[in-house]
């Protein structure tokens, strides 16, 4: 009886045609058939672009299919909202299906405000001035041995010509023509609550979360993202975006009170979501207002249950806004966790000190460079600031190790 129960579970798993995390190295051509993805060299898993090529670099190539990207919101939610939109915009450009869930904004309004992708020629014009400046420094010696290659262009073509990772212009919104061919589903909480006031919930989870899970599961099953429909020839990815999970609008009081009623709602939701993602060809971005959650134990559990966790800390309103050390940047990026998928190791970028900035049109994440300390007499205030920021910088990525001691040489 016991022995029968074990293989029965296993048989069901195999029979369902599980599409998650199976090594597809043998069918390399089949992998490339899904638009907008590329296989990872590390673990053979399909990667999606998060919409921001600099974030893709930090995350080790992109967001893996079947994983959850958790963004810890900054204080006013401005920049995390931007990342959220980038993720969805990338889905539109690549032709993926979208599922947008929100409790405060109507999903179609969110989709109307997606940033416009930069096409090849406009981006090249932008970079044109910088490129000519750089070229003069490149060495112009004629090649002696590989002279056949002399006539090939020296630098690689601009990033927008590749199919993975696009650049977006934040000042313009996406034109509606791009949406025509995209299939998108939405979940707007006030609408769902009013349309079906009574719903049987099979678990004692928060009802809003339970409805969202049911909705996601229904879409995955109906559209065949979990491989349950073998007739479907063209595989596609479902990009799920959930905005401000855990906030008061979802009916969860972890952000508003110190001793919430049900501290397990959010973690249970994330666990089931993880199960749904692993089972299907989808990836999910969730923004959580971490700074509002009083009970830090919940955030630890949430971090353990998510795959990739990126925290944004903006300088708005803090004393760092006017600090000359950070004058080029708008905030810091903390990568708290990167998943190890199908392997013992993960791709960790070497730099732990990352900052972001929003230029006129582009949002980039880059390595934080402190300006050199050029004053003759180092004033006490700035030196303390420097030490403070250096201490902050030396505390690195949580998944690897956190340096508590500031080593002073």
């Amino acid at each position: 009886m016991a022995a029968a129960a074990g293989p029965a579970v296993g048989g069901a798993a195999r029979g369902r045609g599980a599409t998650s995390f199976q090594r597809k190295a043998a069918a390399g051509s089949r992998l490339a058939a899904v638009a907008g993805t590329r296989p990872s060299v590390r673990h053979g898993q399909l990667l999606l672009s998060s919409g921001l090529p600099s974030l893709d670099c930090v995350l080790g190539g992109g967001v893996a299919v079947g994983t959850l990207l958790l963004i810890e919101e900054d204080k006013y939610g401005l920049y995390s909202n931007l990342l959220f939109k980038y993720f969805l915009a990338e889905g539109v450009v690549c032709g993926h299906d979208l599922f947008v869930a929100s409790a405060k904004e109507r999903p179609d309004n969110i989709l109307k405000e997606l940033p416009a992708p930069l096409l090849d020629d406009t981006y090249r014009n932008e970079l044109g001035e910088e490129a000519t400046a750089v070229k003069s420094e490149e060495f112009q010696d004629s090649m002696k041995i590989a002279w056949r290659y002399q006539n090939l262009p020296k630098m690689e073509a601009s990033p927008t010509s590749t199919k993975f990772g696009h650049y977006y212009d934040v000042s313009k919104t996406m034109s509606p023509e791009l949406f025509q061919s995209i299939k998108w589903h939405s979940f707007y909480l006030p609408e769902e609550l009013s349309s079906q006031p009574k719903m049987k919930t099979c678990s004692n989870m928060n009802s809003a979360y339970a409805r969202l899970l049911q909705s996601i599961q229904r879409i995955i099953y109906q559209e065949g993202f979990d491989g349950s429909d073998p007739q479907k020839k063209q595989k596609n990815i479902l990009r799920i975006g959930i905005q401000s999970l855990g906030s008061v609008l979802w009916g969860d009081d972890i952000c508003s009170s110190d001793t919430p009623e049900d501290i397990h709602s959010l973690t249970k939701f994330l666990y089931v979501l993880r199960g749904l993602l692993r089972k299907s060809l989808s990836a999910c971005i969730v923004t959580v207002p971490t700074h509002l959650i009083q009970n830090k134990a919940i955030m630890e559990r949430v971090t353990n249950l998510s795959d990739t966790v990126v925290g944004l800390e903006s300088f708005i309103g803090s004393e760092r806004e006017t600090n000359p050390l950070y004058k080029d940047y708008h905030g810091l990026v903390h990568v708290h966790q990167i998943p190890r998928l199908n392997s013992l190791i993960c791709d960790v970028s070497d730099t732990k000190d990352l900052a972001f900035r929003l230029k006129r049109k582009l949002f980039t994440i880059e390595r934080l460079h402190l300006p050199p300390d050029l004053s003759d007499t180092v004033s006490r205030a700035s030196k303390q600031d420097l030490a403070e920021s250096a201490k902050l910088l030396s505390s690195g990525c949580g998944a690897m190790a956190i340096g508590k001691k500031h080593l002073d040489f």
């Binding site: 053979g44 559990r301 732990k352 190790a401």
Partner: protein, 262 residues
């Protein structure tokens, strides 16, 4: 990876409770090691995998030289995939037989892990046709049970029942992974972890380096043999090594003697 085995004396390797504890880093490489180790040794393994999918473990185990699908077909491995059975529970049809699924506690208000324990017990009780060596219970991430709504007392009860059944009655081993943090605010987790530390025979404590991230040394492992439990008035043996994880292997070396430094 096999340098770990050197510290174990094979003689008294039955009825042991091993605790894998990680702080500020990821200790799952130890879980993979123990899984492949016990499968290679020919033991019957019940693996409660709450955090990752089956293919994840399968791919890594193949790199370490063991095939999980083959082991499952042989009946040597009983794999409980937590994510999948949770989905079946919440979204599956109601046509199941009266037997409750192992993760029933998620949807029920009664937070006891009895169903999970029954699953473990039935899968590890030897039947007549089995010819495996001692049974082993492997749990990947006990801390997830707390996140899913189980009370810490319930988790401790579950471990206690498992110890009684697996270690004492069936003379098998248990290996459990937990997360902990020194300044963690998760009191329930700390309670469970501290309690388990007192009860375990062997603790493998994996920590990130105190000085921050390093490419060549991924962390430090403390091996604590709880000799003090054996009533011989000895202190616990503590050994500390540093390690670096590679694709198919983990290399251990004494502190400060990493290959990058020498």
């Amino acid at each position: 990876l096999n340098t770990l085995i050197l510290y174990k004396s094979r003689a008294a390797l039955q009825g042991k409770f091993t605790l894998l504890r990680d702080t500020r880093t990821d200790g799952s490489f130890l879980v993979h090691h123990f899984l492949s180790f016990y499968l290679r040794a020919g033991c019957k393994v019940c693996f409660v995998a709450l955090l990752q999918s089956f293919s994840h473990y399968n791919i890594i185990a193949q790199k370490l030289g063991v095939s999980l699908t083959a082991a499952r077909e042989r009946g040597q491995l009983v794999f409980l995939e937590g994510l999948k059975s949770c989905l079946d529970l919440l979204f599956g049809e109601e046509s199941e037989s009266g037997q409750p699924g192992p993760l029933q506690f998620i949807s029920e208000s009664a937070s006891n892990l009895k169903a999970l324990f029954d699953f473990v017990r039935t899968s590890l009780t030897p039947t007549d046709s089995d010819s495996w060596q001692g049974p082993v219970l492997l749990v990947d991430d006990l801390s997830v049970l707390l996140s899913l709504g189980a009370a810490p007392v319930a988790v401790l009860d579950f471990i206690h029942y498992c110890r009684v059944t697996v270690c004492s009655q069936l003379k098998g081993n248990i290996v459990v992974l937990v997360h902990s943090n020194e300044d963690s605010e998760d009191e329930e987790n700390e309670l469970v972890v501290n309690s388990l530390c007192h009860h375990s025979d062997l603790i493998l404590w994996v920590e990130g380096l105190a000085t921050g991230f390093c490419k060549d040394v991924h962390g430090e492992i403390k091996i604590i043999k709880r000799v003090s439990l054996e009533l011989t008035a000895e202190q616990d043996h503590v050994q500390i090594y540093q390690y670096k994880i590679q694709d198919k292997n983990v290399t251990f070396f004494a502190r400060g003697l990493s290959a990058a430094v020498l």
